[in-house]
Subunit: 362 residues, 4 copies
């Protein structure tokens, strides 16, 4: 039996489905198996800046209904990078010391940090600076954390994007329209590619493959020539033209960026092909939602494994999913290896095999 511990847990970055399953598993395993204490920290590192830290003791009683609940009961924020935190008056301040102090004020022996690659990089820098005992759990609907095959939230987001495409399929076919669906994916096109194939898209545009509107228009004309009057186009929010300039108006402020590119492409299609086109921006609906069984399973697996890392005092590591087993990797390695869509990988080959246009000259 591992020594008695008092551990903290926080969720950082954008919310997604399956976070609560991970929180539930950490609480269950830490308390039920090891008899430790678990402190839930609210609003990510922001909760540790606060005096006293915003936190609540978690127990097994309170977590029974969590599996079906999307988002995170701990809350999260994106108020800014703690090393350059925006203050009143437009200045920026390094507030990492306050976070470290919060960790000590809560008398934590270790911290479970759940986040994407950006959040985990920041958490690791803070932990290194303060000698905090950190273990990490990867979450991101974009599934772009390279050291793990799967991150929490990707499966549910892909399901929601596929279902949206299914719905647009019916109305596109009824009205003989080109339907453009814009989904999340700031740097990687995993959601667009997976959901696009699963939902039968005719055209899929992802950030990894600069698109040429001539190819897009040509695909639509080909379908028209075959008597197929409608077309489904899946677009990642951050796709780029072949010319290399980024069409998307990505705002500096993070998530305000949803808008723009899908509309632009729908209009260009209408202009170039004469087809009636419409755009739908899926937006925040992708984050929420009742977690899929796969995300609940992954969250539970990761939560138990993270507690085991703490029991072994194997800090500075992240849990990861590989070949249907959980493993651990140094956080340093995990945040170094960003995963884009592999342009020579199975899904790209599958898309091309299905005759899906990826926007390039292939």
């Amino acid at each position: 039996m591992a020594a008695q511990k008092r551990i903290g847990i926080l969720t950082s970055g954008g919310d997604c489905a399956g976070l609560n399953a991970a929180i539930r598993a950490v609480v269950h395993h830490a308390i039920g198996t090891y008899g430790w204490e678990v402190i839930g920290i609210q609003e990510a590192t922001h909760g540790l800046m606060h005096r006293p830290p915003k936190s609540t003791r978690l127990d097994i009683e309170g977590i029974d209904q969590l599996l079906l609940q999307g988002g995170t009961i701990l809350g999260t924020t994106n108020k800014g990078n703690p090393f350059a935190f925006p203050m009143a008056g437009g200045t920026f301040q390094d507030r990492s010391a306050e976070i470290i102090a919060g960790y000590h004020e809560l008398k934590l022996d270790a911290l479970v940090g759940i986040g994407g690659d950006g959040s985990l990089a920041i958490l690791r820098r803070i932990a290194n600076q303060g000698n905090l005992n950190l273990v990490a759990i990867p979450k991101t609907i974009d599934n772009d954390v390279g050291a793990t095959e799967l991150s929490i939230g990707f499966d549910t987001a892909t399901n929601i994007a596929t279902e949206a495409l299914d719905r647009l399929h019916f109305t596109a076919a009824s009205h003989s329209r080109v339907m453009v669906l814009e989904v999340m994916g700031r740097d990687a096109g995993h959601i667009a590619l997976s959901a696009g194939i699963a939902g039968g898209a005719d055209i899929i545009l992802i950030p990894e493959i600069p698109y040429n509107l001539d190819n897009v228009a040509e695909k639509i004309r080909q379908r028209q020539a075959q008597g197929k009057k409608f077309c489904l186009v899946m677009v990642s929010e951050a796709v780029r033209t072949e010319l290399g300039d980024q069409v998307t108006q990505i705002s500096q402020q993070g998530e305000d960026r949803y808008g723009g590119i899908g509309k632009y492409i729908a209009e260009q299609i209408a202009t170039r092909t004469g087809a009636e086109s419409r755009v739908t921006v899926l937006g925040h609906i992708q984050r929420g939602g009742i977690p899929s069984p796969a995300d609940r399973l992954l969250g539970t697996v990761f939560g138990v494994a993270a507690v085991n890392l703490i029991a072994e005092e194997k800090y500075d590591h992240m849990v990861a999913w590989k070949n249907r087993e959980v493993v651990s990797v140094p956080i340093a390695e995990a945040i170094k290896t960003y995963r884009n869509v592999d342009l020579h990988g199975t899904l790209i080959k599958t898309a091309r095999g299905m005759g899906i246009c990826l926007g390039d000259d292939y």
Copy 2:
């Protein structure tokens, strides 16, 4: 047994879930019970303008999988009012005679027209002019056809809007945000009101009640004062301010109108309350979707009843749902009685009882 007949069927106006159930029922009952012929007319009245008319013979074999299929297998268009049809060169032409000719060219004894109040008014005018035998089935996600408690498509659209609100609920709570969801409802707020109550919205704005942003902001501040950091706002696409001017930029071109009002309200909320706000426009996703059991049941009931009206040669009537039974009403009456949300009805009282802000000074 009714006399042998050859009947046509068309779907007009925007597509929705449950149309195929109605088509399936018409085919099953007309052929299986009466031994008639059924001709599916493509692309609404536009298919009848064409020479030869765009049509296909429907049989029972081909309709087995239709219950689960959204949209309409017959297709639909909104290319314009047949009495003032937009022609090349920017002119308009009365093409009703071509539609009447198409009906006769197909040697139809009767026509089942499925549409909303606008489409049914046009169909009736054509039928009257040409002495065509028309029976009607009401469909509209807005549920604003007054002569029937329910129209095909409303239940599924409300389910989708509620599910979207459920998803936003999770992410709103995680990020302490105000989430604005803009749903369809050009003149009536039934979707927003039903889905808003079912999904636990804090604020619901509908076209029937001009809103005042001061009331909206006050509700959000009240919640903030109670420690509730997030807020769910459901908005019909065509809401109006108290001042009477319509903020929505409703385009002349039909469905391009989706955009604008939800974003405007989200921005105003942020400005007035300091809350972080986001908007999601549900758009065309509301139309598509696998039909709900209730829409499949209603479509089947209406399809059987419409065939029975033809068997009785009770033309110029629309099937309607009243008190859990199907009835028939003169189309003339049906298109006269538009149904808005009843401001003294149960749902408004329920919303107020739940403390939901409706944007007025109540």
Copy 3:
């Protein structure tokens, strides 16, 4: 503003989806609008027999997540009729006085009882005996409470039964099998009939229409003759043969009865037609489930209306749904008018119009 009150609420009989929406609405409206106190009574009348009564004070904070939660947070039991309650030693005892004493011990001014016709009859008898102020909300997946078009739980149960039929449809078609689905419906066949039509059943057997296996077998042979190799059969748990004897082995112990009839019919079909047949008993899955938007809306409407009845001191009444509005009816009248499937009603006519075999000689 109504006088200050302290009201109790309990859920009685089998659980279903939407009960928590009603509880949430009662709490919201009673506390938020009127400033009353709400006491949740656990395990139906059994909680009032206990000393002290099993109860908990409900407040608005605790009910935020209730809309998506199936079942009832108050719990329910079917330990027996309080007027003849089974005691140790196999005797029965009238324990109604204890329930009345529990009501007074909790210092209640009124009680909201949520139940089906059986539960409401018992609650009313207790209320009359003790001069308690009772208002009632109807719930039953069977939808057999006559005074209301809809009761809480029916829509979700019908959705689940339809979805099960959809799933069996695919596997039936793949394997050329007859698939029998047995659903709940102790006295009324509403679930089987609605879900059967919505899900495309070929044969629907309900308690209201004694079935003859010759007709069932004939329908299957007809389909075989038309080259249709599979068949979907929907069966209510309590169907009867034409001979009048009840084949179902309904146990004395309440819900143990699920089993028997579906299997019997599947075997008889195999014997008589040579078809490969399988049975699925849907069972308790029908009760649970995330409440449908319609059940959440109905639960909310009923909860608000029940509180209004108390504010008006209009006791001994039940809220009911009629023609898309909430009304109230004397409980005495509500429990008197049981609603079976109307043999001359729309759904039966629709089923016959679709060529669905109902087991009779029609």
Copy 4:
């Protein structure tokens, strides 16, 4: 470009979700990319025994709606092993030569066989005997084909089992009952284990771990002692007691086996703990269902890859999923390595970490 070919495709063994996605992908890639012909063979090898073979030419037009359709449009049967096929009169006959003749009669250059390990072993034996060009795609809801991380159908079946557990959770909690859910898994407990963890089961019994009812009863008593009045028990259909005798009454006739073990365990629990218990047998509902996005994606990936194997004339191989990429393995190897639940693997450790009772003395 590969040489012109005429390929056959058949689905063998029990149906599942995602088969049609694989068929659609084979058709799309073979015709759209390579310009081949594709012949759909009906009812598995049985269709090839028939004279003429039961088959239909497949083209791209006919497969548009297949992604959402469960089961297999080609049909399947389990009429018996072709090498010992049950004939009239109770005798058995080797009919493999007829199948080989059918392949030649259809002038096939290659055959895509979709099946589980049993079906694939038989197909390979036939292919070897007749020098047929076979490539294989693994499907099985049990996910027990060892050479691939995932087989078609597992994800959807797990989703359905998890959803059933979610539904039982609500009603179990409302009634303070022990709910036993019996799911498929003839030899491997993957569905029960994955769905049990994802759905929050308290007890999971799988074929790989012989159970002891004393441990099961003890777990329930522990929960009762902690005031937890309900319990969720997930049971694979083929679990065994510690004593080694198989309690399940597995019938010789294949799928009639669903029944028995869940009921037995529910009764034993009631007897040993005094708890009120109920059983639900999920049955055929697990096979059907609208395919999950993951099964649609996997089916599409496998279909494209199988066609590529034929283009490379890499016969006698099966496509497989490994580390998020598609690979190929010799069929001989694939059918040799059966995959049970790894008793030292991640999911078992996760279950134990969550305090889930697995029926053993651990």
